[in-house]
Amino acid sequence: MQSIAVRIKEIRRQVETGDYNLATRRILDLFLDYYISRKWKIEAVALRAEYNMNLVAKELTGEHAQSVNDWKARVMTLLDNIQEELMPDEAQSGEIQPESIQYPVNQSPVSSGEYTGEKEVFRASRITKRFNNPSYTFELPPVDLVLRLGEITGIVGENGNGKTTLLRMIAGDLEADSGDLSYPLFGGVPVNWYEFRSKIAYIPQHVAKWHGYLKDNLHFTAALHGIKGEENEEQVNFIIHRLGLSKYENATWSEISGGYKLRFELAKALVWRPQLLIIDEPLAHLDINAQQLFLQDLRFLTNSLQHPMAVFISSQHLHEIESVSDNIIFIKNGQLMYNGKMKAFGTERNENIFEIITPAGAHELETLFADYEGFKIADVGHIKIIHAPLSLTSARFMAKLGEKEIEVQYFRDISTSTSKLFKETLTLNR
């Protein structure tokens, strides 16, 4: 019960600091994680709806400060009520003991109270696929893979390296040439593929057009998965407001942008609470802000206490995917460069690698860091790739640049990022 206390406290802080978007989303997440009365759920959805409909956002300008205060007061009251229902003792004493928030890998903004189980959803052992087309031949190397509830596994790599192939095989859309695959949570090795595929949510890279109203499609999908009647109505409203889609719920497919199409696809996948979610290149359609929002939502929903998921996601946006992934697979030139825990990547490295864009020349930098043995610079386009000894950390590197007042336009430490595999190859090729 401590975790709910921390979460509620965190949400209160978000409301107080004006992060209403995150606060309302996290309130809705409480209903995914805990059994809370339906009346509070309705109120939570209503508050989120008011936010989504810009009723509150407009008032943030200060013209209707009183209304904002009213809205905030209702949010706080709702949190009080939820707290009272879930933690009657603490609510009465008025004292909530804070708990240290344990963020998972890469500082994902996920508070405690998340699913941290180890249930395997999917397991593959040395699955391969080979395409013999008239114009080219492609072969996916043998892949071992385990997808667990509450974990996000990302697969990154260049185009044509087999990301989609692997995703399709896991989704049951493509047959593996060799190797074994099973879905332990669904009953093991698939015999009845229809039944198994009914439990897998798969969002392909090129999604098919939806016909009719978007909201009707969500109702249909939910009903088809056994969520009917009032529950269907509530679940669809919940997911629409949770993902901030209420503005377009009565729109049609052709009336929304590519980014919203993807988010509606996500809503369609999540509305029936799948345990395995597979998404192919979702970030390609999203702008930077939408990418962050999308990944943040994905992280939150993956770790839901009541309905945790295993997520397998492909992308070429290495850093964004790495920031939310628990496991990572990197494929390059048909070779499996890395397949393991994200946090384990780069721990046994013998150098640090930085990316930097600066007006300073390579010679100037080499002179500046001449004391560090093994310091090397390679130009990759307008970005310089710096190979530095472990003693030269990113903090020290930046501090030294600051001392010399060298302008830095862009900097990233890729020592523990799979992108260095890509950069290393580029450097070697030069």
Partner: protein
């Protein structure tokens, strides 16, 4: 969509909503919309037939109406198929149980039947229209004599020669009755009278003739017109002739008044016609009538093809449909001219081979089974043409339609067998 929605009555919208939230399979079938709009179409067709301008000496060409009704039916049907297709129930993996699969079969059949009934609605309206006119014109007695003329009508419409005097054909050929009356010379009239003389020998001849003629079923759309035409012709004849006709044993035994009262659609002249007329039971008559069996067969066949096409791509469906139509034309013509079954079998085999070659790429081996099923259905469709011809040749024998219905049902359940659905869901190999 919004345009069609503005024409949708509130009760239909409510039904749609209820089905969407509780019965997604039925909702996706769009049967509720189809039945509503097909009901309106049927009602309009009935009114069109019932209040179609008609005069004794200016009988309308029902073929034009039938043509436009066919176009309307085709449009409604295709719009329905499109709406069902885009919702892709089979692709939306969900709780698609055996019960729902069976339900979907009957929904599809009901949909096809509801559209197909428009022709019958028109026919019914037109028959009532004709009957009103005949009653109004006090031609009932004259029409009674048609009992003879009607039976002679059939060979003419089928284009088959018998030993019947030519002017009997002309009477029923739909030519202006006045013109017929002028053309029918004294010799012809004498032949009519002599043909139905109340002698045992002639009566036997007439009965044999009727028995032969009744082997050929007539189109229900021509029947009221023939009634009118012949009735009008006889109304122009001298009373002495009419009295002579009405006093024949034949007329007394086979009173057309009873037949007419029964229902022209279900009309089938046989030795029990009088009894059927007296104990009028529409449903029983409908069931007994071979036309209805054929109707069921055709609608069943369309349903079957429709359901097979639901699972294939638009391209494949279009190719199969075009090929099927062409094949039917060729096979039908060949079958009609040569009358040999092997011609049809030859074309079917040829078509199946082509179909397999054309569609074998990009499909898993197991999906070829589905394609084989579809190919088989389409390839077997020329049998429909053959059955129609055979049916006439066997004098309205209902064995073939009955057998076809049984086979169709078996194929439906084969096509919608859960095992087949499971096979469909298996991963592709490309």
């Amino acid at each position: 969509m919004r345009i069609t929605e503005s024409f949708t009555p509130p009760f239909l919208k409510d039904t749609d909503r209820r089905l969407l939230l509780n019965h997604p399979t039925i909702w996706a079938s769009r049967i509720h919309h189809l039945v509503f709009w097909a009901g309106i179409l049927n009602f309009i067709c009935f009114l069109w037939g019932r209040f179609h301008p008609i005069e004794m000496n200016n009988q309308p060409n029902t073929g034009v109406s039938v043509f436009f009704i066919f176009i309307a039916q085709a449009m409604v049907f295709l719009y329905w198929v499109y709406n069902v297709k885009i919702r892709g129930l089979e692709q939306a993996f969900g709780h698609f149980t055996r019960k729902l699969q069976t339900l979907d079969v009957f929904i599809s059949l009901a949909g096809v039947v509801s559209v197909s009934l428009a022709m019958f609605a028109f026919s019914l309206g037109f028959q009532l229209n004709t009957r009103t006119l005949i009653t109004k014109e006090q031609l009932v007695k004259d029409v009674n004599t048609l009992n003879i003329g009607q039976t002679i009508l059939f060979p003419k419409y089928l284009g088959r020669g018998t030993s019947t005097p030519n002017y009997f054909y002309e009477i029923n050929a739909g030519l202006p009755s006045d013109l017929l009356a002028q053309q029918l010379d004294e010799e012809g009239l004498s032949a009519v009278v002599s043909a139905i003389k109340n002698t045992e020998e002639e009566n036997r001849y007439i009965q044999e003739f009727i028995h032969t003629a009744n082997k050929y079923r007539t189109s229900p759309f021509d029947y009221p017109k023939a009634l009118l035409s012949t009735g009008y012709f006889f109304s122009k004849q001298p009373d002495s002739l009419k009295n002579e006709l009405l006093n024949t044993t034949f007329y007394k035994n086979y009173s057309a008044e009873n037949v007419f009262t029964a229902n022209p659609v279900t009309y089938e002249v046989n030795d029990n016609i009088r009894k059927i007329g007296e104990s009028y039971k529409p449903l029983v008559n409908l069931y007994k009538n071979t036309d209805f069996s054929l109707f069921l067969f055709i609608t069943g066949w369309i349903t079957l093809v429709f359901m097979a096409f639901k699972r294939t791509s638009i391209r494949e469906a279009a190719l199969a449909a075009i090929a099927g139509v062409l094949l039917n034309v060729v096979a039908g013509m060949t079958g009609y001219i040569v009358g040999e079954l092997y011609i049809v079998v030859f074309y079917s085999a040829y078509f199946m081979l082509g179909f397999f070659v054309f569609t074998k790429r990009n499909h898993a081996r197991v999906l070829l089974l589905q394609k084989a099923g579809l190919a088989l259905l389409v390839a077997a469709s020329p049998l429909l043409t053959l059955v129609l011809f055979k049916n006439h040749d066997t004098g309205g024998n209902s064995f073939f339609p009955f057998l076809s219905i049984v086979v169709s049902f078996l194929l439906w359940f084969l096509a919608y067998n859960p095992m087949f659905i499971r096979l469909m869901a298996r991963p592709k190999n490309q």
